[in-house]
Amino acid sequence: MLVQYIPVFLVIAVAIVFAVATVFSSEIFGPKRPTQAKLSTYESGMKPVGTTHERMSVKYYLVAMFFIIFDLEVIFIYPWAVQFKKLYIENGISVFVSMVIFLVVLELGYLYAYKKGGFKWD
């Protein structure tokens, strides 16, 4: 059974070699003549102002949290989806109804977040 994963490891090995070789090739072929102007941060020709690592909008953290919540539901649905036809033939409509109940609960949480303005972006 593990034999089918040999190609995956080979692909990963080739990809790592290819990526590293590409990125470091210009270190070998390119010139090295650094000057102060080249090494400064690009800010449309102005002198850089302030630092970069400041606080950012909390909206982005909210999006990350929603992602974690809903991505888990995605993975939860996959096993059900793969087995659905077989389970439906064996057990009838209850297989469908139980997933609909789950999705309704999920949607309630979604609607709550919607009402609270979690998805509002302004």
Binding site: Y5, P7, V23, F29, S40, E43, P48, Y60, F84, Y110
Partner: protein, 343 residues
């Protein structure tokens, strides 16, 4: 087949597919420039080679001989790691995408897919999630405000659309009953394409694929008029080429994935009724796959030059308030389809 034979066949397949992807990407850049020129009533590249056909090779050579500048404000190890991750992701995802039926080589039945694994779709999802890291780390480590804004925007955009992408795939799995891409293709024989059976899922997946590959109308991470180059503002020479290559390779892979999941993969409808020999069957199947992918790639470029860029709040609204509920409804639609029509 014993392990040594598997390794030899796999290496040959990897070399062929990587060469095809590299060539396809080079010409994709060329065609993008030619089509954009055509759309804007210009001529486009026409100096290097016949009608400019070697322009992309000249560009790569130029980037190879350029100085690799790492700004002082950058975090050097992560700044170098980011393009490596981007390239790694786009050159591993193709592994599970089947591009033809089994063929006979020296008496062995070889499937035309690099890695025929039973978790194929999960593999693709895992790697596309990894792709977010490349852009986020590139934006964060550059030490430039443009890069940081581009990187954060991009990660928020990509994770938002990954949800609807995941739910859309759920509809495909209901019909194929397998996570193995080869079986997903086989489940769409004849005209039973998923794009026809579940058009809503097809559209949500297509839109998510545009957002995942950072293509216009969703190219906010590198919106030139406001963010210069977005997350790759501070990248030069082959590191920049790495991002560029990865972006176009992702476009190619996204098209191949859409074809596999929704447009019947390499299958030409009812080809097995024509009584062709095994060899011709394989040849026509591979050509069918190539034509489907090429048509989708043209669609990608066509959309880019036809539709203006979204505003960021519109983008997030579309992702969370339209695509997410639609992709959930699609799952219920497919389940009902299975129960009513016994598909």
């Amino acid at each position: 087949m014993n392990i040594l034979q598997i390794i030899i066949f796999t290496i040959v397949k990897i070399l062929i597919v990587v060469t095809i992807i590299l060539l396809a990407v080079t010409y994709l850049v060329y065609f993008e420039r030619k089509i954009s020129a055509w759309a804007q009533n210009r001529i486009g590249p026409n100096r290097v080679g016949w009608h400019g056909a070697l322009q992309s090779f000249a560009d790569v050579l130029k980037l190879l001989l350029k100085e690799d500048i790492v700004p002082d404000a950058a975090n050097k190890p992560i700044h170098t790691l980011a393009p490596i991750i981007a390239l790694f992701v786009s050159f591993t995802t193709y592994a599970v995408i089947p591009f033809g039926p089994n063929i006979n080589v020296f008496g062995f039945s070889v499937p035309l897919v690099v890695a025929d694994v039973n978790i194929g779709i999960l593999y693709v999802l895992a790697l596309t999630s990894l792709g977010v890291y490349a852009i986020t780390l590139a934006g964060w480590s550059s030490g430039s405000k443009y890069s940081l804004l581009g990187g954060i925007r991009s990660s928020a955009q990509m994770i938002s659309y990954e949800i609807s992408m995941g739910f859309s795939i759920g509809g495909v799995l209901l019909l194929s009953q397998s996570l193995r891409p080869v079986e997903i293709v086989q489940a769409q024989s004849g005209w039973m394409w998923n794009a026809i059976l579940q058009p809503v899922g097809f559209i949500t997946f297509l839109v998510s694929a545009f957002a995942e590959t950072n293509r216009l109308p969703f190219d906010l991470p590198e919106a030139e008029p406001e963010l210069v180059g977005g997350y790759h503002t501070e990248y030069s020479s082959m590191k920049f080429a790495g991002f560029f290559l990865a972006e176009y390779a992702n476009m190619f892979i996204a098209s191949a994935l859409i074809v596999t999941l929704y447009l019947g993969g390499w299958q030409f409808p009812y080809l097995d009724h024509f009584g062709l020999s095994n060899g011709w069957f394989a040849v026509i199947s591979v050509i069918t796959f190539a034509i489907k992918v090429a048509a989708l790639l043209f669609f990608f470029i066509w959309v880019r030059w036809s539709i203006p860029r979204f505003r960021y709040d519109q983008l997030m609204n579309l992702g969370w308030k339209v695509m997410f509920p639609l992709s959930l409804l699609n799952i219920i639609w497919v389940a009902v389809l299975i129960m009513v029509f016994k598909l």
